[in-house]
């Protein structure tokens, strides 16, 4: 008896770790677009970047339950770091990424102490405040950032000294997609690890989490710092692939958009960010091409419909679909209680 239970237990526990069919498909298709959609690489690049940005947000929101309306702070810092490096002659993209990740991580670590306490609303506003202040600083420090005119003269060297950025954005897209994929793998490992589990427990009930011996604050600081680094990389990618940085990398709408993107795609399973990015960007692109003045209306309408149609249920579907056969998500009992306590 107990052995087959043991198997069942380890199976169910490791379930989340397994790669579902849908997942593999997803990435194959993503790679395929490199060849099949040459004239869309520019927007695909942007999608990959926002996707990564959203993954970063998902790490703290979906897994640690830290809501943030100021995630652009890290995105922007990353962008400026990479941009400023490039303008001052350090044109190697990967170096830029690394530097961006580090600076963003540092800021993340420092500000993480601000978001440990308080209600969701409080966290929203504190993060928002941080981003706004940072934006203001960037505006004032025009000698460094180019202020409101934006940072010009950003010219990137070839990646690994081999691949030049081209005007069709193919290199750019390949570059962003690769980075996003690699970072995704890491994130995926993390969220299915015991550490990831502890994060979910903290999100669910911090009081109890402490009561089972979890150092709640340390865990939160760690993930917040990591997420910041991710966001920083995303920002750096944007700066490097567009070779221009302006104040709106720090603007409120960045934080808001990424939040939208993530929520559309669904929180707490990493793919939400990517899917959301695709849906949102494609919709925006298509609709705004059709009615540049009033596309917002239709986007808004779609958002409303998504919610009313029961976003959570929708994403739940997608989730299961992802995991393919392997993925059986926690379901509510659809039968009478299987056994009453006695019969075990």
């Amino acid at each position: 008896m107990s052995t087959n239970i043991a198997d069942y237990v380890s199976a169910t526990l490791t379930r989340r770790g397994r790669w579902g069919v849908g997942e593999i498909l997803f990435w194959l298709i993503a790679a395929a677009t490199l060849y099949f959609l040459p004239e869309r690489h520019l927007i695909l690049n942007e999608i990959a970047i926002i996707g990564l940005f959203a993954i970063s947000l998902d790490l703290i929101l979906g897994y640690a339950g830290i809501v943030s309306l100021g995630h652009a702070a890290f995105f922007g810092l990353g962008a400026y770091t990479a941009g400023i490096l490039a303008r001052n002659g350090i044109a190697d993209p990967l170096l830029g990424l690394g530097a961006a990740a580090i600076t963003a991580a540092i800021l993340g670590f420092v500000t993480s102490f601000l978001v440990l306490r308080g209600s969701d609303l409080t966290k929203l506003m504190v993060t928002l405040g941080v981003a706004l202040v940072l934006g203001e600083i960037a505006n004032q420090a025009s000698w460094l950032t180019g202020g409101a005119d934006g940072l010009q003269g950003v010219t990137m060297g070839p990646i690994l000294g081999l691949f030049e950025f081209d005007i069709f954005g193919t290199t750019a897209y390949a570059y962003s997609l690769t980075v996003t994929f690699l970072l995704f793998i890491v994130a995926r490992r993390i969220v299915v690890s015991p550490y990831g589990l502890s994060l979910r427990s903290i999100r669910d009930n911090p009081l109890k989490a402490r009561a089972v011996g979890i150092p709640v604050n340390r865990r939160l600081i760690a993930i917040y710092t990591l997420a910041a680094a991710y966001a920083g990389v995303a920002g750096a990618l944007l700066a490097q692939t567009t070779q221009f940085v302006s104040l709106d990398v720090l603007a409120f709408h960045r934080s808001a958009d990424v939040m939208l993107v993530l929520v559309i795609g669904g929180v707490g399973y990493l793919y939400g960010g990517l899917i959301g990015a695709i849906v949102f960007k494609v919709l925006q692109d298509v609709i705004s091409a059709w009615t540049p003045q009033y596309w917002q209306f239709w986007i808004g309408l779609i958002l409303v419909i998504i919610v009313l149609a029961g976003r959570e249920r929708l994403t739940e579907r997608v989730r299961t679909l992802w995991k393919g056969v392997a993925g059986r998500t926690a379901k509510s009992p659809d039968t009478l209680p299987k056994t009453s306590a006695r019969e075990v």
Binding site: D149, Q152, I167
Partner: protein
């Protein structure tokens, strides 16, 4: 042969939407008046909304270049939005016609940039000179704390102090609901005049609060480049705007047959809108492109940009020409005063400074 495509990239949504609307309307109007074929080739206008975000502008420009193979890109509502795609213009040899953004340096970002709007120093320096000549000794400048604002502040301060005037600078955050603290500072400083530059939308609030504080009665003149008394909303401001003195290149009240026709047609095509300096920038931008294409018959960006250099014509705003050296526009700057004309408020021109070049670059070139 297939059509000549013009990519028009503007902020059609977000805080700077009204800029986009004015330019779009004017551009459409021009095409409707001049027909959509030039030198035997069809003209196709592709409108894109960059929501006022620079990296989007750049992406859109890039897509238009590589996918739609546009011959010219135009629009660009704000300085960063104009600067972001500049490298593309150079790289792809696609002329970039700036119809709004007004920071002086823009045209230096690429040899393919040409501008049909104006530069802030161009509109501001005359203001300084006029002020100095009209017995104004002490001025407080109050500008929105972003690129153009700082440009205006620099230009005015430089020119005015050169004429022996005395200046104190104030900067207001761009997103700023309430001017009272700054106006209070002005009141305390008791200058002869207050020089203002704020993005056109905010201008109205500013005017109202200026009057509400009774600064007008305490004898402080309100001067500045034309943005505060933007024709588009001037009429709605009401009497508070009366008497404001501004210098700019265009007023809907400019007295010329071309302008009368333009304003009329514009209003007809867009009820409850009045053309402002943005609109005329778009209108002339289209004219420049059309004429350029006529000359070159659409062979290559280099040819087109060369053709545009030195071109001159009579715009609704008056005589204008493109400086072959800087690819910036040379035009008259008018000193205007807000007055009521048959029931509506207008910037009525009462003095003209002919053929003003952008002073910043002019200074560089000699």
């Amino acid at each position: 042969q297939e059509a000549v495509k013009i990519g028009l990239i503007l902020p059609m949504t977000g805080p700077f939407a009204s800029t986009g609307r004015q330019i779009e309307a004017a551009a459409k109007l021009y095409m409707q008046q001049q027909g959509d074929t030039v030198a035997g080739r069809k003209i196709q206008l592709i409108l894109k909304d960059d929501t006022g975000v620079a990296d989007v502008t750049k992406r859109l420009a890039q897509e238009l270049i590589v996918n739609d193979k546009i011959a010219v890109m135009a629009g660009f509502g704000l300085t960063p939005l104009a600067l972001a795609p500049a490298p593309l213009a150079t790289q792809a040899k696609v002329p970039q016609v700036v119809m709004a953004a007004a920071t002086a340096t823009i045209t230096e970002a690429s040899p393919f940039i040409v501008r049909t709007s104006f530069t802030l120093p161009q509109a501001t320096v005359p203001m300084a000179e006029w002020a100095a000549e009209n017995g104004i000794k002490k001025v407080v400048t109050l500008v929105s704390d972003y690129g153009p604002g700082i440009d205006a502040e620099k230009a005015f301060t430089g020119a005015f102090t050169a004429k022996g005037g005395q200046v104190e600078n104030l900067r207001v955050p761009l997103a700023n609901p309430d001017f009272s603290p700054f106006l209070q500072k002005v009141a305390d400083a008791k200058p002869d005049a207050l020089f203002v530059f704020v993005p056109s939308g905010i201008g109205a609030q500013f005017m109202k609060q200026f009057v509400e504080r009774g600064l007008d009665k305490s004898g402080i003149k309100l001067i500045g480049p034309g943005d505060v008394t933007d024709d588009d909303i001037l009429n709605g401001m009401g009497d508070v705007a009366l008497g404001a003195i501004t210098t700019q290149h265009y007023s809907a009240a400019h007295d010329s047959p071309e302008n009368k026709a333009f304003v009329e047609a514009f209003k007809k095509a867009n009820p409850n809108m009045r053309p402002n300096f943005m609109a005329v920038g778009g209108y002339d931008g289209m004219h420049l492109i059309y004429e350029g294409l006529k000359k070159t018959g659409g062979q290559g960006g280099q040819a087109l940009i060369d053709a545009m250099k030195g071109m001159s014509w009579t715009s609704p705003r008056g005589p204008v020409s493109i400086d072959p050296q800087t690819r910036d526009i040379i035009q008259n700057i008018y000193v205007r005063k807000v007055e009521r004309r048959d029931g509506e408020l207008y910037n009525v021109e009462f003095a003209t400074i002919p053929n003003v070049k952008d002073p910043v670059k002019a200074a560089k070139f000699n």
